[in-house]
């Protein structure tokens, strides 16, 4: 807490308290009945070590431009979002390379989001039916806008050139779309706003 008690500002609106606390470290909320509450800033950051465990091959696959799902040898169900045991019969599954072509099962355009992704809005999310898979896969749907998208729209997967080893190393674009140059993509974004 940087500010000393003498410098604390007092506010009647909680929103103003919050703004000042985040800026200066502390502030005082003045209640209707005259009572005062001290509000302080409380930062919190963590670096986790994280294992993808038995889903690892999926994430390594993305770095090689490959989409892996998993197939149950007990009931032949193909999971587009991999899992190492089948949720129906409990048998272990085997890795199966999936087609990167599919269709939009459902979609939305997010104009708002969690803090981490606010700067990327607006962005589209889609649940994708990849050919040959029985379950869906959730991904970003890029290079199109709210006006272009519809249920059933053919899409195909794209892979990150520099993998982050996160699920966002894969996304989908409308089928047959030529790779958009960086400048052109910016222009599309500007037009949308």
């Amino acid at each position: 807490m940087a500010a000393s008690a003498k410098q604390l500002k007092k506010y009647r609106r909680y929103r103003d308290v919050m703004t000042d606390v985040l800026k200066r470290g502390a502030a005082v909320y003045k209640n209707k009945d005259g009572s005062e509450q001290l509000v302080i800033k409380s930062p919190y950051t963590i670096n986790y070590v994280h294992s993808y465990a038995s889903d690892t091959r999926f994430f390594l696959g993305l770095a090689q431009n490959r989409l892996y799902g998993s197939e149950c040898k007990g009931c032949n169900y193909v999971f587009a979002t991999p899992r190492s045991h089948c949720m129906f019969c409990g048998e272990p599954t085997e890795w199966k390379r999936l087609s990167t072509k599919g269709k939009v099962h459902s979609w939305t355009t997010c104009e708002f989001g969690g803090e981490e992704f606010l700067k990327e809005t607006p962005y589209n999310l889609a649940l994708v039916e990849f050919e040959g898979a029985d379950s869906l896969f959730m991904a970003r749907l890029k290079e199109c806008t709210v006006r272009d998208i519809y249920v059933g729209m053919p899409v195909e997967a794209r892979f990150a050139k520099k993998p982050e080893y996160l699920v966002r190393d894969i996304w989908v674009v409308p089928s047959g779309k030529k790779p958009v140059k960086r400048t052109a993509r910016k222009a599309v974004k500007a037009k949308r706003r």
């Binding site: 308290v17 459902s106 355009t109 989001g113 649940l127 519809y150 249920v151």
Partner: protein, 443 residues
């Protein structure tokens, strides 16, 4: 259930931390039944959703401590958005099993501690953090994905079946469904004008809702509940204890609970588990649940109806307080709970059935009063302090069935004439778990 208490749900309660909020609600509940004393309480079940919001692990212990209930037994209950409903059923089980004669169930959430976008991020961590969160997944986005498919299945394929151009048909279907979802938002906000505990009572028009800021297409800000601070408390007792304490208890007639996959992408495509008034032919060619319906809500309803002996819920229930975190999930829930068949949710809204009689919503509501849904204003208008929400519904249902709405609200507008039986419905992220509890008046 013998008593209940609430704090007003608000954007922020900087004058009360979570312990004070629960204490306020607890004192109210204790005062409402003068013969009830602390020594009568055998133990507690305490619920809150997120340790990220409290930044205090084991906060439930601090509530137990602050209420002075030590050394009695307690457990913390957490199950996402359905935390309150689960806690209610945990309290029910503690009493029904004979372990306790009187159980205190208390829930709270303090979501004001971070800004809305950070709150969205915290809540999004209740989706799969390997597969769903890193692409920018957050809850309004997930519910939008679900309603887009719901609109495709049930609006595109019915009212716009005649439109040949696929994109045009889908545009028209989304527009029409958005108008109907807005009617739900208007209803809940207007009902809340008569509920002093509600966070956002207001009179809106359909156009106001449609023109509000777009959050995740096609859901606008007014179709989505907000983050809140608040607490709620229920006192549950065995039959003998209940009648010793009060002459106006409410019977918990049946409870049900269901679950589904955490990831939307994993939802299977199978058959509808049928309620008594439905038949297999009703759903020929329908892949269920996919992402258009909440299978957990159907499973919870089936169990609760079975235990309460309900065959046709729309006829046998007098009202429902259900989990309308989104106007869309309210409509989807009508179908899961069997108030109408799957696919009839939009018609059900337009029929007026879920509206209150005698209120002017600004559009016709022909069958108003048939089965009022969220007479309190629901989550959309009351707020959604997660751990308290399901218990808030129980408190509203208690007062409704006791006929004490006027006493607690200072306004009798929302008191339903002759309400004998109601349901409460609590729901966690994208329908990954749902509880339904049936309550009955005994007088």
């Amino acid at each position: 259930m013998v008593s209940g208490g609430l704090t007003k749900f608000a954007k922020a309660h900087p004058e009360m931390d979570f312990r004070y909020m629960v204490k306020n609600a607890y004192d109210y509940a204790m005062k409402d039944v003068p013969s009830l004393e602390k020594k009568d309480i055998d133990g507690s079940r305490i619920s809150y959703f997120s340790d990220h919001f409290t930044r205090q692990l084991k906060a439930a212990s601090m509530v137990q401590d602050y209420l002075g209930l030590n050394p009695k037994g307690s457990m913390r209950i957490e199950w996402g958005g359905a935390t309150g409903g689960e806690a209610f059923q945990a309290g029910f089980e503690a009493v029904a099993s004979g372990r306790m004669n009187v159980c205190l169930v208390a829930g709270f959430e303090t979501m004001s501690r971070v800004q809305t976008w950070k709150g969205n991020e915290f809540i999004a961590l209740a989706s799969d953090t390997n597969f769903d969160y890193p692409i920018g997944g957050f809850y309004s986005g997930y519910y939008a994905l679900m309603v887009t498919r719901h609109i495709y299945e049930y609006m595109r394929k019915s009212r716009f079946a005649h439109v040949k151009d696929e994109r045009e048909a889908q545009r028209l279907a989304i527009k029409e469904a958005s108008r109907i979802l807005s009617m739900v938002s208007v209803k809940n906000h207007l009902n809340a004008m008569h509920n002093p505990y509600a966070q956002y009572p207001k009179k809106l028009t359909v156009d106001d809702v449609l023109r509000a800021e777009m959050i995740s297409y096609p859901l606008t800000r007014e179709m989505i509940c907000t983050m809140s601070d608040g607490a709620a408390v229920c006192v549950l007792a065995s039959e003998e204890e209940a009648f010793r304490l009060t002459d106006n208890p409410v019977l918990i007639k049946g409870v049900g609970c269901g679950t589904d996959t955490m990831r939307l992408a994993d939802r299977p495509f199978g058959e509808v588990p049928l309620l008594k008034h439905e038949s297999r032919e009703d759903y020929e060619g329908l892949d269920y649940p996919g992402v258009h319906s909440f299978r957990a809500g159907r499973a919870a309803s089936l169990e609760a109806y079975e235990r309460a002996g309900i065959e046709d819920p729309a006829k046998e229930l007098d009202f429902i307080e259900l989990h309308d975190a989104y106007a869309s999930s309210e409509v989807q829930t009508y179908e899961d709970m069997g108030l109408c068949k799957y696919g009839e949710g939009y018609n059900f809204v337009e029929s007026g059935a879920p509206f209150l009689k005698g209120m002017d919503y600004g559009f016709p509501t022909r069958n108003a009063g048939q089965i009022p849904i969220n007479p309190s204003g629901g989550l959309i208008a009351c707020g959604h302090p997660v751990g308290a929400t399901g218990l808030m519904q129980a408190v509203f249902a208690l007062w409704q069935l006791q006929g004490t709405v006027k006493k607690h609200f200072g306004d009798s507008t929302l008191q339903l004439e002759g309400a004998k039986r109601g349901a409460i419905h609590s729901h966690a992220g994208t329908g990954s778990s749902v509880t339904v509890s049936i309550l009955e008046g005994v007088n």
